[in-house]
């Protein structure tokens, strides 16, 4: 039983070691802390693959607190990968590179995400969400001498606390209806058919408020651009990828297990999710058109991508689940690469305005290439991974008789392509006066960017294995 939890235990030990090392050393000798953190996370990845492989049958462990299945497994790797890349990007970001507590907070947040992906109990789920969010609130406001960062942390905290309170209210109702906090028990109680439709739907809405905040679903998306803009850039990347993936991991598990469609009879949450998906991608893409700051642009783009992923959830089918998992994996590497480029460029350019990116391809061809590949993948251009991911979510929507949703999705993809190309036009075609000044890439960032780049291309060209793995992971829900 403890072996299945070994990756999480590794992270707790790692957090302890990093914090203690930070206390024992002075500022100069702390430069190796990011590498220590990265090594520990790599160890957790190895432990996940070697010791914590789920068996054929999913099992409930620790008194029903966690569910150990393929979905848990895949999401564990997703979160660990996101955290690893974030740590490597941070190593080249001078303001945080030598702060031990910064890495401790990333580690604990990752731990919370891994528990979120596995939670099968409301108590555990709530604690996991808090363990994820509270370090992220602190990380967003980590640079206390920068007012923007402080504002970002504060906004994130206020918004998060409000939605968490609403979600907790929903949890308490679920407990009241079913007399249990276990998701599988709750499903049974709701299936008994004694509950009026309005109570169930009301509870879905309350519970979804908290999850919607984590994935920045409309109308809970207002925080995203402000928080991304102010927080340290590697953390903005972490928020838009791993944290969002954790939110989706919880949404698919809770909606599909605790609120089975059979319990509703006719009208159920799929319609609500479909409308939310359409709104989320449209709002995200349309506002992104008007942005002049690359971090805000990527923030609205990540809102739009949450909308695409919600399409797969609205489908509520096996193909839908598969498309969600596949999309999250591809989106993770793609968006990490995009934010990684911004973090690297910010060091030299000193600004996140789109104008600063003029002529980047002449100042650093490699950086411009990574930005090209990642933005094209976000736009869904073949042969990048983003193309396959988009095709899958559209297919899931069509299969679930939501052709209108797929049409909205395709229109949105076109809008998205437009603003991604605007950025690329600046990078490749515009000239600037500072073209002779190169943009150096710190080595850890280069490693992370290379891995992300290869992953984007591999996901887009060699599709079959990833398709199968996503299918197995999503299969754990049905």
């Amino acid at each position: 039983m403890f072996l299945t939890l070994l990756p999480e235990i590794t992270l707790v030990v790692l957090a302890f070691v990093v914090l203690t090392t930070d206390l024992a050393l002075d500022r100069q000798s702390r430069a190796f802390l990011p590498y220590l953190t990265a090594a520990g996370m790599l160890l957790a990845v190895i432990f996940t693959i070697v010791f914590a492989l789920p068996g054929d049958k999913p099992q409930l462990i620790f008194g029903g607190m966690l569910r150990h299945d393929w979905l848990t497994f895949v999401f564990r790797l997703v979160f660990l990968f996101g955290a690893l890349a974030t740590v490597l990007f941070s190593a080249g970001w001078e303001r945080v590179a030598r702060r031990g507590e910064y890495y401790v907070l990333i580690i604990t947040s990752t731990l919370g995400m891994m528990l979120m992906g596995a939670s099968a109990d409301l108590v555990m789920l709530f604690l996991a969400i808090e363990t994820t969010s509270i370090p992220l609130y602190i990380l967003a406001g980590f640079i206390t001498e920068d007012d923007k960062s402080t504002e970002s942390g504060f906004k994130y905290l206020l918004f998060g606390a409000m939605t968490t309170a609403i979600m907790l209210y929903g949890f308490s109702m679920l407990y009241g209806f079913s007399g249990s906090t276990n998701l599988y028990w709750i499903a049974g109680a709701l299936m008994s058919g004694e509950l009026p439709f309005i109570s169930m739907m009301g509870t879905v809405i309350l519970v979804m408020a908290g999850f919607a905040f984590k994935v920045s679903m409309v109308p809970f998306h207002f925080w995203a651009p402000d928080v991304y803009e102010g927080s340290p850039t590697p953390i903005a990347g972490f928020l838009s990828t791993a944290s969002k993936a954790a939110g989706f991991a919880v949404i698919i598990r809770v909606l599909l297990t605790a609120f089975p469609l059979e319990a509703f009879g006719g009208v159920d949450w799929t319609m609500m999710m479909a409308i939310a998906a359409a709104l989320t991608m449209s709002v995200g893409n349309l506002i992104a058109l008007a942005q002049t700051n690359i971090k805000r642009l990527l923030a609205y783009s990540s809102v739009a991508h949450a909308g695409y992923i919600l399409m797969g959830i609205a489908a509520a089918s096996e193909l839908g689940g598969l498309s969600v998992v596949f999309y999250i994996i591809v989106y993770l590497v793609t968006n990490l690469a995009a934010f990684g480029v911004v973090a690297v460029a910010e060091r030299t350019l000193g600004s996140n305005d789109l104008e600063a990116y003029d002529g980047l391809s002449r100042r650093s061809p490699a950086l411009a290439l990574v930005l090209l590949i990642s933005l094209l993948s976000l736009a869904g251009v073949p042969p990048m991974g983003g193309f396959i991911a988009k095709v899958l979510v559209f297919a899931a929507a069509v299969e679930a008789n939501m052709v209108w949703l797929a049409v909205v999705g395709i229109l949105n993809a076109i809008v998205g392509l437009y603003y991604y190309l605007i950025v690329l036009k600046r990078v490749y075609l515009f000239r600037s006066e500072e073209e002779d000044k190169p943009v150096p890439i710190p080595r850890p960032s280069a490693v992370a960017l290379t891995v992300c780049l290869i992953a984007i291309l591999v996901f887009g060209t060699i599709i079959a294995p990833w398709f199968d793995y996503s299918g197995i992971a999503a299969g754990a829900l049905f």
Partner: protein, 118 residues
């Protein structure tokens, strides 16, 4: 069970009465002829200078935060201590891990100077 609490309730009422009665009695029975000298602060320090609603230092706030965290820790450790005899070895170890993690937090607060009055 409830009866025990009833006694505590009665004790609370009596405890509240003990100081209140003499004060009330003094107010009712004593002659009331105040003058400036009588109204001055005595035995409890000096006459205050300026406004008594002063602004506190930020340092108090950090202390209160650290105190709050250890207060919550205490709440969690209390049941552990009470149920100690009935716990399996694993439970005892779990409690120790809990304490060690928070000791690390204390060490952090100490090392970063949060407990110092600067």
């Amino acid at each position: 069970m409830q009866d025990n609490w009833l006694f505590i309730g009665i004790a609370v009422v009596i405890a509240a009465m003990l100081p209140m009665l003499p004060i009330a009695a003094a107010r009712i029975l004593s002659p009331h002829r105040p003058n400036r000298l009588k109204n001055e602060t005595y035995e409890c320090g000096m006459e205050t200078v300026g406004d008594t609603w002063v602004q506190f230092k930020v340092q108090y706030y950090v202390y209160a935060l650290v105190f709050l965290i250890f207060d919550v820790e205490m709440i969690f450790l209390f049941p552990w201590a009470v149920a100690y005899d009935n716990l399996p070895l694993l439970g005892v170890i779990a409690g120790l891990v809990f304490i060690f993690l928070l000791l690390d937090g204390l060490a952090y607060a100490w090392r970063k100077g949060a407990l110092e009055w600067s």
